[in-house]
Amino acid sequence: MIIKKIQIENFLCYYGLNTFQFEDGLNIILGENNEGKTKFYEAVDWLFNGINNDLENLVSAKKLKEIALEDSFKVSSSLTVEQYNNEYKISRSFTVHKSNNNEIEISNFIFEGQETDSTTGQRIPINGQVLLDRIFPFQIRKYSMFKGETELNVFENEEALANLINLFSDARHLEKYTEKGVFLREKAENAVDQSTKLNQKNQKAYNILESEISQLEKEKERLRIHINSTEEEKTKLEKNIKEAEKYVDNAEALQTINKRIKNIEEKISSLNSKIDESFTTSLFDENWILVNFESFHKEFAEKITGHSKTRRELQSAFDKQKGILEGEKRAKAELLNNAIPLPNNVPSKAVMEEMLDDEICKVCNREAKRGSEPYEFMMKRLKTYLESQVIEDREKDKDEPLFKFDYTYRLDNLTISHEDNLKNLRLIRSKIKDLFEFNDNRKKDVEELKEELEKEIKEREKIIGNARIANEDKLLSIFKNYTAWQEDFRGLNKEFFNLEAKQNEILKQLKLKKEEKDNIDLNSANSFYLKTRDILRNIETIFKETKEKKFDEFIDKLESKSNKYLSQINVEAFTGEIKFTKKKFSGDRIKIDVSLFESGGRYFMPGTAVRTSLNISILLAISELANEVRDETYPMIFDAPTSSFGETKTGDFLNLIYETSNQKIILLKDFIGSYKNPDGSVKELFIKDEFNSIKRKKAFWVKLERPFDKKDLSTINTEVNPL
């Protein structure tokens, strides 16, 4: 989109109809202070955002004075633009009527649009607001107009830059997919949850895990907020400290001493970390709680040994009784020399039957004819075996053991395994003593270091005391706080470190809990649900990561382009480096932190000119990137963006802007010289020769028609002179 023409009619100092014809590229409007630059800007702003309110304040006093009673005239601001070869006109206007008693009546407040068909040339009226939002969307307008240097810093607003990047980076295309991704994943997880909950056995464990996970999530969120605010506080303090140090004469000595102080502080915190005072935890983890346990172990061991003995005695008596019965059985054996017989089942029943059939003892390889003694022996043995089967069955009932269960074995084992432990129990007291001694020694070391630290801090105060600063009170207040800031900073650093450690711990726990929950899922939920859920989880991750990647890519590009502009604007001067840092807040909110870095770290106190360069660089970079992704360019209007620059630098800046692609309208008070009257008042203004070397597409000089009376508004008329 290109602004072809802006017309301002009877608007404040713009008497009658004033026309600015613009071209693509750089357009410059020069003007001395109070001669109409800002009123031009305000006319455009009113065109875009004006409301039907206090309109009488916008009327040209000169015009009002001139017209006759009962006469009317129009006040308007209009814009003609070209977009994709079509021409559009938007105008906001109202009618002023001067009544008989010299009062103003306002009527006919209109915001209208008009589209000219490129082929037929036909003019079609459209609602002004609709047309404006179509050709020049609100989000882009917001970052297209800047009044003064301070407004350039649109990024101090928490999320402005993040929104802007979202608007222009490819990440915006992925927004709808990530939302869908979350929706689908949640659906799938619900299905798995429901399916798992059906399994009652898991229900309890599941509920516990769910509530633990939600507790951890809350804790994680709480920590994140805490970490963010700690970080912000740290940055603020660091800024204060740097500001104070700026006034110090002997910067090098201060640096050395700061290094020494940091060194001592690190030593102290390292020693402190070695001091272990988690005694209550050690009661459990180091088993210190067992310090007086030995007598109980003894009591237990005696009890178990005693019982074990009793048990064996009872068993023995029982066995003896049983043994008598056994003995009677054994007496039946009929072997030579009362030898102990082989088990009844040797040889087996089948073998015995075979030997009896064949009438041979196949064990000793002798005949055993039916009726002979060996035959009868074998027959009797087989019979004994067959009977034994029946008898044993009957005896089983009778053969009930004395002890149905054996608990003693495990208890004995416990006695033995803990016997070895006793020597450890005896060592606990001395271990505790050792730790207390160790802690005491470290504490002494810490005390010594703290004394040393105090000396160094006094030394630093001396150096700082020699600082130069015009305002005594300010000096005093700064240095009164300096030491406190340093201390606070140290404290915050420690806190920050602790918070981060805590956060990591919670993340670890969360991971474990989630895995545990997933395990329950795996064991119970329908595998179809599980697979679906896993796929959807992956899809969501892909969307999220791609979106983040696109966003990060855009930030990277933005950073490198901004730095390119920054070094061009600040040729042969300090530039530093712009860094964009992404911070995440709850609910996926993102904030982008913009800061300037010098070689020694963050540059906290940039002057106005440096800040302006920084802001303009970012704006130009955004505009350039926006053109790349939108396939369309939008104009930017700056009112006095470089008032802190000085003329030469402004010239360099304009020549740089000239090279950039989209249309810019820049209002400046530079390049205007004046001839003075003897009393010092301005006789005549002129455009300086230096302006001839400024590259531009179009230039105007807005200046008041002379002579005029400073005290009489009706003498004020801004003339528009193309240069």
């Binding site: 804790e219 935890t281 983890d285 067992l290 007086n292 054996d406 608990y407 208890l411 416990l414």
Partner: protein
């Protein structure tokens, strides 16, 4: 081979409900609710079962076998002994198996169980385990009473890191 320890570990011992607000919420980091989690000062026990174990040993060393009064409402943390101090989920902490075994050892030593009858099958295993749990609850109750008394004496006593250790060390000659 039967194992009383395994059976005992599956139980969730209880305590007198009055100690929940009085001690457990005050001295343990779990169970206080998220609102109070900021107030961790003096909460030296990472978990409610740590306080339970501590109170048990304190009661044991001081020979304070104080059965929970009849008719009093009893509560547990719905967490069986075997899970107390299990390594899963507790990073940077050590496993409590040895402590579990020692509690069990003390319970066997101090509980009147007829082991012969148990092994003969004349005494039911469940009844034996019930007796062990009763001993455990009684010593713990004794320990909790001691802690409560200490807290009444000096509400800030447990802000010192050595307080709980000292109470245990002081029992040496009891």
């Amino acid at each position: 081979m039967k194992n009383l320890f395994e059976k005992w570990k599956t139980k969730e011992p209880e305590y007198d409900i009055k100690f929940r607000e009085l001690l457990f919420d005050k001295l343990t980091r779990k169970g206080g609710g998220s609102e109070q989690s900021k107030e961790d000062r003096g909460k030296q026990f990472a978990n409610n079962y740590e306080l339970y174990i501590y109170a048990f040993f304190l009661g044991l060393y001081n020979n304070e076998l104080q059965p929970i009064e009849i008719g009093v409402q009893k509560v547990s943390f719905r967490y069986q002994i075997s899970l107390w101090g299990s390594k899963v989920n507790r990073l940077d902490r050590k496993d409590f198996t040895n402590l579990q075994e020692n509690i069990f050892i003390a319970l066997i030593a101090k509980t009147d169980i007829d082991l012969v009858a148990l092994e003969k099958g004349e005494l039911d295993e469940d009844d034996a385990v019930k007796a062990l749990i009763k001993t455990m609850e009684s010593y713990t109750n004794g320990g909790l009473i001691l802690i409560k008394e200490k807290l009444e004496e000096n509400p800030n006593y447990f802000l010192q890191p050595t307080s709980f250790l000292n109470m245990i060390l002081e029992t040496e000659n009891v």
